[in-house]
Amino acid sequence: MKRNILVSFAFLFVFVSANVCAEGELTIVSWGGSYAKASIDGIFKPFEEETGIKVIVEDYNGGLAQIRAQVETGNVHWDVVDVESQDDLIGCDEGLLEYLDDLELPDAPDGTPAEDDFFEDANSDCGIGNIVWATVIAYNSTGFESDPPSTMSDFFDLEKYPGKRGMRRTPEVNLEFALIADGVPPEDVYETLSTDEGLDRAFKKLDSIKDSIVFWETGAQPPQLLADKEVAITTAYNGRIFNAINLEKQPFVIVWDGHIRDYGQWVIVAGAPNLENAKKFLQFAARTTSMAEVSNRISYGPLRHSAWELVDKHVDTNIDMRPHMPTAPENSKNFLVNDAEWWAEHRDDLFERFSAWLNR
């Protein structure tokens, strides 16, 4: 008993002292898996080497719940988090994130100022642009040897391309896909969705394949569904399909037509224990070279124009990375950029309507 108490005190002491000498640390939260690995090798390790700041990596699965719990209880132990654009907006509005509007960002190697070099809307009040990723459609080529699907409309065409369809169980992306498939030009999609008729039209299009949809929840599922032949075509994150094709040699094909792009951002949790280190990290991650280092490890594109020039071969497999980027010219013929602002305004209603639709 006595020994147990001693041991507990020893642990407590180690724990407290670890917290006291935390000046040289930084906790960064990312998504786990191959993407986190790309970030660790591409940015975190070089950052540690350059600054001597020790990076602690944690995984999460998106969303603001954990950030909110930390901020509201005043017990913040995360510093930097890799978030989706929608969580960046809402987290900023809710006061869960630090404002970064006065953070100085590094210029491009050729001297172009950062604000001209970053993609439009890549940075926000609380977020610094990180990657561009895409939700695409993908199929298993063993099912479609002749005349394979090539457009977003084909995804919704059960007669020409029979078989189950995989879709993420959210209204996001699916409503946009439905309208694009129904012939709405990408630039009019959100305007159309803002009207009652437009929404009805999107749901009607989804209705036409409802009985054939298999819903997925996490990014790891769609490649699995394709490999198991549980679905013929699925929506999926482009990086996951890239990995399945190139690292696991699966016979999958990505259809880039009508894909939806979204930006990932770095944010700092409000009241982060290592605020100065976190800002240093964001400046480091915003460098042209850092972005390219990530893109040479996973098929998520850099958010600075200057970094495109540095996107080259995959560091392990020597695959040319550019053709696999959402931003490659040949992939950019027909696409939509996710409007996080629009979703922030309409998401609550639409999630309920989507759930009601699922349950009908």
Binding site: G63, G95, V214, E217, H346, E352, S355, A356, N359
Partner: protein, 399 residues
Amino acid sequence: MTAQYDIKSRIGPIGLALPLVAFIVITFLIPLANMIKESVYDADVADALPRTLRLLNDWVGPDLPSDEVFRTIAEEIVVLQENRTIGKIGIRVNRVVSGTRSVWGKTARRVDGVETDDMRTTMVGIDDRWSDLALWQGIKKAGQRYSAKHYLHAVDLTRGDDGSIRRVDTEQRVYNTLYLRTFWVALLVTLLCLVIGYPIAYAIAHTPPTLSKILLFCVLVPFWTSLLARATSWLVLLQSQGVVNDVLVWLGIVPDDGRLSLIRNMTGTLIAMTQNLLPFVILPTYAVLSSIPPTYMRAAASLGANPFQAFVRVYWPQSLPGIASGCLLVFILSIGFYITPAIVGGTKGQLISNMIAYHINDANNWGLAAAISVIVLMSVLILYVVFDRWVGVDKLKLS
């Protein structure tokens, strides 16, 4: 004298129970109270726009509020922008009137320092949604400190501008369906667990010790496996290209193009949940069955009952306390299930807990999540009370 003795003899047990009481208060009662408060109380808008809300007290429409109201809200918006809390107000009001979130940021950026005699026209010029009566009604609604709006929302009701309560539009109705489905699934799972679990419990209770230990071990193994791993294993087993279908096709029981859909539907949910929850009905039932003296059955037989009669009239009634506690456990646990249905449940696999998880993790609407949770909790409590009246909780036996 006796009274003093009573107190003294009671201090000991109370002292022993204190850690438990403290534990329950800290980990259960305080969070529960917080949750209930969260479901009815929201001061964000009330604290942010106190002057505007006071002026809006006298306003009912159908005209737009007076210029004074516009000037006041403009002043308050400027302050909120400086404190960087304007976004929070946008989110809160947007929950009442969808599609208004960006009004606030846009106005805040452009209204600061504006000199005008006609603030109403200026603000409508910045964003014409300021001329929408619904936005003003929404501000008033969101400004209530205490309100039942989350509870109305959680049962597919809404309050009209005139204060009357009505159902939401058909395509938005979702919660009532989910409560019903959740309770229906819980009921089916409980019945399945009982039908499958009772014979197993009987077998464990009435076989030689070596065999019963092995059986008990088999029941307990799934207990030690992660819920997620079990749900995923069911996917591997039951999917259309999965083990079960492959075997059926190989045996020629089903044709290759007519593979059974056993997962990502209600069948899958029931199979996986039943497997997860079986131990909860087997263990208490086994405990009670093993305490029934075998002499009773022999006595019944010697008095002329055939085995069926003996079972129905002597054995079964004595096993009821175990069955009842097992079923109650399974039923209550089923209501809270959400990982399993999310993975194996398919289109209609969502249960009410999935909605609570969504509002906590994704929508950040903890008030609504709290209201739904309170409704589920209350339903369970009511069921418990009914159960108590009907069966008697004091008759339950867990071991």
